[in-house]
């Protein structure tokens, strides 16, 4: 078969578009191999003789297999399976000989398109896949139509997809769900994501300071706590070598914190991340059973963190963590070495080593405020002895500089202190009424242990840049992007658009992606569908009725002729069709009558009369209304 050029161009382009998003998921070699094959086939449209012959295709297939084996040592697992399909699709492209091959390639392409959802399930990807499926369908329409017309084919494909949507929705809601088998989850390559790490060096958070990437969303059941209380607790860093802060070994806390005041109930929707940290509002008290609280009061999830996950947490902003044990005390007062004289002088000037710790905290915060300290996301590099050079020389820094300097000075004064990293604030999405916490909200603050109050949060950054903590917009973003006024129209418009989009995405996640077998059974039981059997009955009923409606629509479209003569004659044809006598599409009434008379010799006279009246009505010049009445009567009386 000489496949039509247009059809081939259509098919190859849609396949290119389908495979393209996989560039992020499959190894570059496999993707390159596929691109080579696709390009080869594209050239082959115009230069038939350049296409590979059988031995070359065989060699290419061997190459593909070797490539797959070198990447995955097999074909098992999500990545290996996807690569297998993509390689097979590329190889099949080179041997389009019959129409059958075109169909096979189209179906393979549909599978590759669906495999995209194993990696990404966001709404944009869904829309993209739907679009390329439309292209692929249009290709199938082109293959089957006598004259390929691009626009008409696209229109037909779009209509097919729109018609399929109600069935897809019904199946989505009603189809029994199973949890993905384990093999789909293991052997996936991890991708580096941005986020907090389990160590901190002054400057490390500044990379996050400009990233708009979403970390998690929070939907509060009731009131939203004020901005200055919204500290989302991440890893707690106690050990330091003077430069780098890391997590200390965890110890069991002596007592669980005593909470008072307002309870905040909320749902956390975590974006995929590398670490199994869940950022809860200080201090989490009740939470989903899949979470656990570690000794530093940080929530840890037991589930795999590389998927979006939803947790229910209740937190209290007023709390008392009580006493600490000796090892914890030791960890919280650990110093990398003997502090320098300059530091000791500063501490003794502000504290004197004998006034109560409260006083020292106040003095130190005041020191940051009145002295010439500046908040910036682009501080000068402090290689040697960063705390000292920050305190006495540069005096330019951001949260991690302030927090580490503060904790260091506390420890010099023998007050237990530690650095807490996490996120602060979050932007309210007015459309969806939830908070969005982005990487730019990453923050570091200090915790000081006071005898009567337990661990108390102190944020030295608030002393130097209160707007970073108090206000609803990110100062950092403004620093970086230089957006002049937050009230400028464009900014507001952009913000609203982003909030709207974010809300759509949030609902997509909640209602579509998170619709698993648990939420399905919950949702369906609210309609009284409790077991699998009723579910399947309902599924069959709904799919059946949608199909019936579509069929009726099709049927109605076909018989929408209003010509009375034709209607009568069609009724006559239908009566004959009951006897298996169907009029061919290109068969005239007279020829049909001749054919039918052989099968039904007794009715020959009737058939002749009906046909004669019909032909006269339809093609003759002397037809009258009476003839129509006669035809109707004859057809009515006709019994085959």
């Amino acid at each position: 078969m000489k496949a039509d050029k247009n059809v081939l161009i259509f098919l190859l382009s849609s396949i290119g578009l389908i495979v393209f998003p996989h560039v992020y998921h499959i190894p570059a070699t496999v993707f390159g191999f596929f691109c080579l094959l696709l390009a080869w086939r594209f050239i082959g449209i115009w230069n038939q003789h350049w296409l590979p012959n059988k031995p070359v295709i065989f060699l290419l297939a061997v190459c593909g297999m070797a490539l797959l084996y070198s990447q995955h040592q097999g074909i098992f697992g999500r990545d290996a399976g996807t690569n297998l399909f993509i390689t097979a699709l590329g190889l099949k492209l080179l041997e389009i000989k019959k129409e059958r091959d075109l169909y096979l390639i189209s179906y393979l392409a549909f599978i590759v398109a669906a495999s995209q959802f194993l990696y990404e399930q966001n709404i944009l990807m869904a829309a993209y896949i739907l679009l390329v499926c439309c292209l692929l369908l249009a290709t199938l329409v082109c293959i089957n139509s006598c004259k390929a017309q691009t626009l008409a084919a696209l229109k037909t494909a779009a209509i097919i997809i729109v018609q399929a949507l109600p069935i897809a929705v019904a199946l989505f809601i009603l189809f029994p769900r199973v949890d993905a088998p384990r093999w789909m989850v293991f052997n996936q390559q991890r991708h580096d994501r941005m986020g907090l790490s389990d160590s901190m060096e002054p400057g490390s958070i500044s990379d996050l300071g400009v990233s708009e990437e979403l970390v998690f969303r929070v939907k509060f059941a009731g009131a939203i706590p004020p901005q200055r209380q919204r500290y989302w607790r991440g890893p707690v860093l106690s050990r330091t070598d003077g430069k780098r802060w890391t997590q200390a070994a965890f110890y069991e806390p002596l007592s669980s914190p005593v909470v008072t005041g307002t309870a905040y109930q909320y749902t956390l929707l975590m974006e995929p991340q590398d670490k199994n940290w869940v950022f809860a509002l200080d201090m989490p008290k009740e939470f989903s059973p899949s979470l656990s609280l570690n000794a530093a009061y940080q929530l840890i999830t037991l589930e795999s963190p590389d998927k979006r996950a939803e947790y229910k947490v209740t937190s209290y902003t007023d709390y008392n963590t009580g006493l600490i044990n000796r090892s914890e005390y030791k960890a919280a007062t650990q110093l990398p070495g003997e502090p320098s004289d300059k530091i000791k002088q500063l501490v003794s000037r502000l504290h004197g080593f004998d006034s109560p710790p409260d006083n020292f905290i106040k003095q130190l915060l005041n020191h940051f405020r009145v002295e010439d300290f500046h908040y910036t996301l682009t501080p000068p590099v402090m290689e040697e002895n960063p705390i000292e050079s920050f305190l006495f020389n540069t005096r330019y820094g951001f949260c991690s500089h302030y927090a580490s300097a503060f904790v260091y000075l506390m420890r010099v004064a023998h007050i237990p202190a530690r650095v807490v990293t996490g996120y602060q604030g979050g932007e309210l999405n007015k459309v969806g009424d939830f908070l969005e916490i982005r990487q730019a909200d990453a923050h570091a603050w200090a915790e000081v242990w006071l005898e009567s109050r337990g661990w108390v949060r102190v944020d030295p950054t608030a002393a130097i840049a209160p707007e970073r903590i108090e206000r609803d917009i990110s100062v950092d973003r403004q620093f970086v992007y230089g957006i002049a006024g937050e009230n400028s129209q464009a900014y507001n418009w952009l913000k609203q658009a982003r909030q709207l989009w974010s809300s759509v995405d949030y609902n997509w996640q909640r209602w579509v992606i998170n619709y698993n077998n648990k939420s399905q059974s919950k949702f369906l039981s609210s309609f009284g569908i409790s077991d699998l059997k009723t579910m399947i009955y309902w599924m069959i009923i709904i799919i059946g009725s949608i199909t019936a409606v579509l069929c009726w629509f099709l049927f109605y479209q076909k018989s929408k002729t209003t010509d009375q003569v034709l209607l009568s004659y069609n009724r006559f044809c239908k009566k004959l069709a009951k006897h298996g006598l169907f009029r061919g599409a290109g068969e005239g009434a007279k020829d049909f009558a001749e054919r039918v008379k052989i099968k039904l010799p007794e009715q020959a006279a009737d058939i002749d009369q009906i046909t004669a009246v019909f032909i006269n009505l339809r093609y003759g010049r002397t037809a009258t209304g009476e003839d129509l009445q006669q035809l109707k009567a004859l057809v009515g009386l006709f019994r085959a």
Binding site: C146, G584, G586, G588, A589, I615, N616, R618, Y619, R621
Partner: protein
């Protein structure tokens, strides 16, 4: 009038054995005032068919054997100097006859072919600036050998279009061939045929054919056929508007022969292969095969 037609057909079928459909199509073509092209291998009765029709219709008949060295003057005639009157005198060629059989037209050079085809279209001949009208009625029956035979100049599309119909005769079936072999000479049979439809009556019939009614529903079907040939990938180029007109004219004649005063889709279907086959030029296949997709796919309503 129709009775005369059917008697004529019966007589013709006595001579041309086993080909009633082709004979009927050939007569239909003449009734629709069209020229006929018969394409087949030598010896299947092309010339006999032309000769028989000429005899039965009582028309002046002249045969022109086309060869590769035939000149236009051999067909249309030439001016010859008359020494007695000292002037040029036009000697009309064989084309000045009511029925002209152009035998093996595709053996002649394009120049000679076009001389005949021009006469067919214009119904007149111009020599040295002077125009001579051709007799009425005027028919050309051309025969041609399949173009794969050696020594042929295939007729270009534009000239094929001048022929209302192209028919293929094909081999006779077993029974007809037996009858042919056992019977007397076709030539003698032909000579003894009486005139059954004199030219005056023929012209009346031709006039009556134009009056056959064509309904809107039939025009729908006709247009559906034409647009199918234009949209389908089966054909390189679709039917021209002239082809559409030819189709209708032929269908009218067919309906008239069938004793009807209105055209029905079956008439169009009957003449479709003969009228459209050579215009669609889909390779070397038979006309029936060429138009089969149309008959199968275009719906009759």
């Amino acid at each position: 009038m129709q009775n005369a037609i059917h008697q004529l057909l019966d007589s013709a079928n006595q001579v041309i054995l086993g080909k009633p459909r082709q004979v009927r199509l050939a007569l239909c073509c003449l009734l629709a005032r069209g020229h006929l092209l018969i394409e087949d291998i030598p010896g299947v009765g092309k010339t006999t068919l032309a000769h028989t029709l000429a005899k039965l219709l009582g028309l002046n008949y002249q045969r022109i054997q086309f060869t590769s060295d035939i000149l236009p003057a051999d067909i249309i005639g030439a001016c010859v100097f008359d020494t007695r009157n000292h002037e040029f005198k036009f000697h009309p060629g064989p084309v000045f006859n009511q029925m002209v059989l152009a035998d093996e037209i595709n053996r002649a050079t394009p120049k000679a072919q076009s001389a005949l085809l021009e006469a067919m279209e214009e119904h007149q001949v111009t020599v040295e600036g002077k125009t001579y009208p051709l007799p009425q009625p005027f028919f050309v029956i051309a025969t041609q050998n399949p173009s794969h035979q050696i020594g042929t100049f295939p007729l270009p599309e534009s000239q094929l279009d001048r022929f209302l119909m192209r028919i293929e005769l094909g081999y006779p079936d077993h029974q007809a061939e037996r009858q042919l072999l056992a019977g007397q000479s076709r030539h003698k049979l032909c000579e003894s045929l009486p005139v059954q439809l004199p030219p005056e009556q023929l012209q009346q019939i031709q006039q009556a054919v134009t009056q056959v009614y064509v309904s809107a529903a039939l025009l729908d079907y006709c247009q559906a056929i034409i647009s199918f040939t234009r949209d389908s990938s089966e054909y390189h180029c679709g039917l021209s508007p002239r082809a559409g007109l030819a189709l209708l004219t032929a269908a009218k004649a067919w309906a008239f022969m069938d004793r009807r005063d209105a055209v029905i889709p079956e008439d169009l279907q009957a003449v479709l292969a003969a009228v459209a086959g050579h215009r669609l030029r889909a390779g070397n296949s038979h006309s029936e095969a060429i138009v089969a997709p149309i008959l199968a796919n275009v719906a009759v309503h």
